[in-house]
Amino acid sequence: MAPEPVSAEELYRRKIVGVNDRTVTHVSSTNFPGHYPGENHAWDLEEFRNSFQVQFHKSAATKPHELTTFSLIGIDASIANAFRRILLAEIPTIAIEDVFVHNNTSIIQDEVLAHRLGLIPLTGNYAAIMAMDFKRPPTDAEPEGQKPTDQNTILLNLKIACEWAEGAKKLLEKHQADDIDKLYVNHNVYANDIIFTPIGRQINEFSEEKGPIRPVSPEILIAKMRPGQEINLEMHARKGRGGDHAKFSPVATASYRLMPTIDIVKPILGDDARKFARCFPKHVIGLEQFTEDDAAKAGDGYEEHVGEKKAVVKNAFNDTVSRECLRHPEFQDKVKLGRVRDHFIFSVETTGQYPSDELFIMSVRALAAKTNKIRRHLANVLR
């Protein structure tokens, strides 16, 4: 059965999710075998290779740890969503998991302090972090859990005591004590005060040149103290998944949106065009001269408008699809909003442990690894 040729308009119609003032239309993919009589739609790797595109909009390569945005064009929502879910929950990172409190006389309770420490994003030589092992959780056979080693545990220390600054007493006597930074030393405990203690092969892998383990942001405030108080604790960071605890998630955000479309069906002219442009974010709609050609194309009754300004779509990418233009009666039936079903604009922002573009690559690898694993398992078990 030879597939019948499908017109370009029909293909475009199938690709667009309609956005109306109160409803959405054509939300589901229809590219399955048997959906359209006489059409194939079977999975074809070569066809996918030819149609699938990646476009970069912003990369973190020049500015590490910043937002990376890119588009995946020609892929199904189920797969784009799998990448997003893996980014959030399945790429392992290291975070502080065990805190051994030797002394804590600050006003922050041990458990609250431990929780705060766990949430501090750590960074370092990311290839070495990637190569670290998971620490096996306790089981019946191993009730204590796996022993910490240099391959599954990062050792960190925080030892800090708050004291009076030199000459503080004099300032107090003179009633000049309004600047607390002159009165106390170490009264603010920052993430920077956490000290990494490399053990075993970590001495080489997390050396000063390769990148020692350190907090991504040195100025995270951990606790506040007053003279006489001190914090002295040992921390074990280990590998975990975002699915188990959000502190292990490698991304601050990983999300996608669909590419917006704005179709101006009938000309929008003059003051209406200016009002129309104001319904959208800046530079999404532009104004151009309405020419005789346009008037001829638009049909009867437009000749007198030649020379006025008309609204044209300049940059639908930046539209937020607020649907504001659909609230005004003067644009009724003149504009159609939509989104491209298979154009995903991803934005990935790392917490700093891995570069954001590397994270997406890891998510694709992780999905491939999942399929491999089940495939091997099937071969062993089912037959």
Partner: protein
């Protein structure tokens, strides 16, 4: 709170024997699950069966369902998470005569793997191209 001498109760931390995942690309290192179980649920025939896959969720469920539905020999494919507190995913496949659910599942997994390879290849090319233009 008594001030205790740090480290008195602690054992020293041993070094791990050898590095098993030296390249850092091992599948278990990426996913962190070793105990995957796939089971065929009772009532299965060659052309209609339900699989129970442990430690998987919508991530693999929906993408695998899509790839299996792209196979013209498959009559139906669907997945469900029977209960949110149980870490398992059920996958239902029904095929037309002439193939089996096992073949359909294996083809789905292979197709998904191929797709990932293409995405990876195109993503890396696009990234390198973009970075080159920025410099």
């Amino acid at each position: 709170m008594a001030t205790q001498v740090p480290g008195t109760q602690d054992e020293t931390m041993p070094d791990a024997p050898g590095n098993e995942n030296a390249d850092g690309q091992d599948e278990d290192t990426i996913i962190g699950r070793e105990d995957l179980v796939v089971r065929v649920l009772p009532g299965a025939s060659d052309t209609a069966a339900s699989f129970e896959i442990e430690h998987e969720d919508h991530t693999l469920g929906n993408s695998l369902r899509y790839m299996i539905m792209k196979n013209p020999e498959v009559e139906l494919c669907g997945y469900s998470i029977p209960h949110p507190a149980e870490d398992k995913m059920n996958l239902r496949i029904q095929t037309y005569e002439g193939t089996t659910v096992y073949e359909a599942l294996e083809k789905g997994l292979d197709d998904l793997k191929d797709l990932c390879d293409v995405v990876l290849e195109k993503f890396e090319a696009a990234r390198d191209d973009y970075n080159e233009r920025q410099l």
